[in-house]
C-alpha cells in the first residue's frame, strides 16, 4: 500500500508545533495522504483526515468512480454503499438511492474499487479522540484505524496507544483474507500460523484493521507533535 505521510503536515509541524510548550490537542494542520486501491479488490481503510465538516464519502474519496463501493462494519456484517454518481449511492438494502454516507476520522471500512485508482485524501489532521474515545467490548470486532494519520512500525507504538492486553487480536486484510495477530506480551505476538511468536506487524497510514479485545477496553489517542 503506497502512501505518503503528510508532507505538508510534517513541514508545518516542524515549524509551528515544536514551539509549543503545552501538549497540542488541536492544530490547524492540513496535509494529504495517497492511497492506492487495486481494481476488484477490497482494501481495509481508515479515514486519515478530516476533509470537511460533514466528511461525506464523496469528499473523503474524491477518486470515486461509478461502481466503487465502501463497506461499513455494523458489528456483525457490512453495510455496502455503492457509488453511481455525485449524490447518488445505492444503499445497503440494494434498492434505495441516496446521498453519500458520512465518515469519521479514524473510522475503519473496506473500499472496493471498480478499477485500480489512487485516492488522495486532503484535509485537516486530527490528533486526539479524548472527547470520544473508542470502547471495545470483550469478544467483539471493531473495524478501526488511527485518528492521527500515522504509519507505525509496531502496533505497540505509543502514538497509536492501543490498549493491548494478552489475547487481544488485530486482523489485517491482505487482499484475500485476514491475517490474525494476537498480542501476547510486549514485543511478543502470536502470528497467523498459530505457532510463531514474533514482533508486532506494522501499520500504514490510512490502513484500517479489526481489533478484537479480550475484555472491555477503551482506546484513546492523544498525540502531540514535537
Amino acid at each position: 500500500m503506497k502512501k505518503t505521510l503528510l508532507i505538508a503536515a510534517a513541514a508545518l509541524a516542524a515549524g509551528v508545533i515544536s514551539t509549543q510548550a503545552q501538549p497540542v490537542y488541536s492544530q490547524n494542520v492540513v496535509g494529504y495522504v495517497n492511497q492506492k486501491f487495486v481494481g476488484g479488490q477490497y482494501t481495509q481503510v481508515s479515514v486519515p483526515l478530516s476533509v470537511s465538516s460533514t466528511n461525506s464519502a464523496e469528499e473523503v474519496f474524491p477518486v470515486l468512480q461509478a461502481g466503487d463501493a465502501i463497506l461499513i462494519w455494523t458489528g456483525v456484517s457490512y453495510d455496502t454503499y455503492t457509488y453511481f454518481a455525485q449524490g447518488s449511492w445505492l444503499y445497503p438494502d440494494g434498492v434505495t438511492l441516496g446521498a453519500a454516507p458520512q465518515l469519521k476520522v479514524g473510522q475503519g471500512l473496506f473500499f472496493q474499487a471498480s478499477a485500480t485508482e489512487t485516492n488522495t485524501y486532503v484535509g485537516s489532521v486530527v490528533l486526539s479522540n479524548t472527547n470520544a474515545p473508542i470502547t471495545f467490548k470483550g469478544g467483539v470486532y471493531n473495524l478501526v484505524g488511527s485518528v492521527p494519520p500515522i504509519g507505525v512500525s509496531s502496533l505497540e507504538d505509543t502514538n497509536l496507544n492501543l490498549p493491548l492486553q494478552a489475547g487481544d487480536a488485530v486482523l489485517l486484510w491482505d487482499g484475500a483474507q485476514y491475517q490474525t495477530y494476537t498480542y501476547f506480551s510486549k514485543g511478543s505476538w502470536l502470528y497467523p500460523d498459530g505457532a510463531t511468536i514474533g514482533v508486532s506487524p506494522a501499520l500504514s497510514v490510512g490502513q484500517g484493521f479489526f481489533y478484537q479485545a479480550t475484555a472491555d477496553e477503551q482506546w484513546t489517542q492523544n498525540m502531540t507533535l514535537q
Binding site: L71, W73, Y141, T182, T214
Partner: protein, 221 residues
C-alpha cells in the same frame, strides 16, 4: 441507471446467498477466560486443594464445542439438548494451548473455522467441554463415560453457556466470531475438576466373592 442498479442488486443478492456457512474462533489466550484445574499437577485424577491454570504440556487436555439452536435445558452435554459442533463432518475438538497455561486452541486457531450447520450470522447457544487426556482423546469416549461412569482418573468440566452470532457474513467475510467475550458469549474461565473411576456393582460383587473365597480356603486349611 436502472439497469446498473438492478445488476448490482442481483450481484449483492447472489453474494448474500453464497455466504452461507458461519465461522467461529475456537481459541483463547486472554486472561479473562483461562481454564483451571483443581489439582496441583502432582498426579492426574488426584483431587488437590490448590487451584491452578491448566497445564500447557502438549495434548494433555482436550475440548469439544457443543452448540444448540434452542435454549438448552441444562449444561449437561447428554441431556441438555446439545450437539457437538463439526467442521467438514469431523467433530470440533481442541487442545490446551502449549504456549500459555490455561489457553485453548482448536480447529482454525485464531483465524477461526467454519462450522457445519451454522449459518453465517445466525446465533446459537454454545458451551465448551474440557477433559484431561487420561480420560480419552475423542468426544465419543467422553460421552460413553458420562453415561456409564469414569473408567479412569482425570479432570473434567463444562464452561458457562454463551450465545454467539457466527462470522462469515458477506464479502469480504466478517471475521470468525469469538466464543469468549463480554457481550453474551462464554463470559469467564472455568475449572476442570478431578474425577475418579467409580467401581461398578459387579466389580464390588466380584471383590466380595473373592474375599469370601479366601476366607473359605483359609478355614478349610
Amino acid at each position: 441507471m436502472k439497469k446498473l442498479v438492478l445488476s448490482v442488486a442481483v450481484v449483492l443478492a447472489g453474494l448474500a446467498v453464497a455466504s452461507a456457512q458461519g465461522t467461529i474462533k475456537f481459541y483463547n489466550i486472554g486472561s479473562s477466560y483461562l481454564v483451571s484445574t483443581n489439582g496441583t499437577g502432582t498426579g492426574v485424577g488426584q483431587n488437590g486443594t490448590t487451584t491452578g491454570l491448566m497445564d500447557k504440556t502438549a495434548n494433555s487436555y482436550y475440548f469439544a464445542l457443543l452448540m444448540s439452536s434452542a435454549a438448552p435445558t441444562s449444561s449437561n452435554p447428554l441431556t441438555g439438548g446439545w450437539t457437538v459442533a463439526q467442521t467438514g463432518g469431523v467433530n470440533l475438538v481442541g487442545n490446551n494451548y502449549t504456549l500459555i497455561a490455561g489457553g485453548i486452541t482448536g480447529n482454525g486457531g485464531a483465524n477461526g473455522v467454519a462450522v457445519d450447520g451454522w449459518a453465517a450470522g445466525s446465533t446459537k447457544y454454545v458451551e465448551l467441554v474440557g477433559w484431561s487426556a487420561s480420560l480419552g482423546t475423542t468426544w465419543s469416549q467422553i460421552t460413553s463415560q458420562l453415561s456409564t461412569g469414569w473408567t479412569s482418573a482425570g479432570y473434567y468440566g463444562v464452561s458457562s453457556t454463551g450465545q454467539v452470532a457466527s462470522g462469515g457474513v458477506g464479502t469480504p467475510a466478517s471475521p470468525a466470531a469469538a466464543l469468549f467475550g463480554s457481550t453474551g458469549q462464554i463470559a469467564s474461565g472455568w475449572m476442570l475438576s478431578g474425577v475418579s473411576p467409580v467401581p461398578e456393582p459387579t466389580t464390588l460383587a466380584l471383590v466380595a466373592l473373592g474375599g469370601a473365597s479366601l476366607l473359605l480356603i483359609r478355614r478349610r486349611k
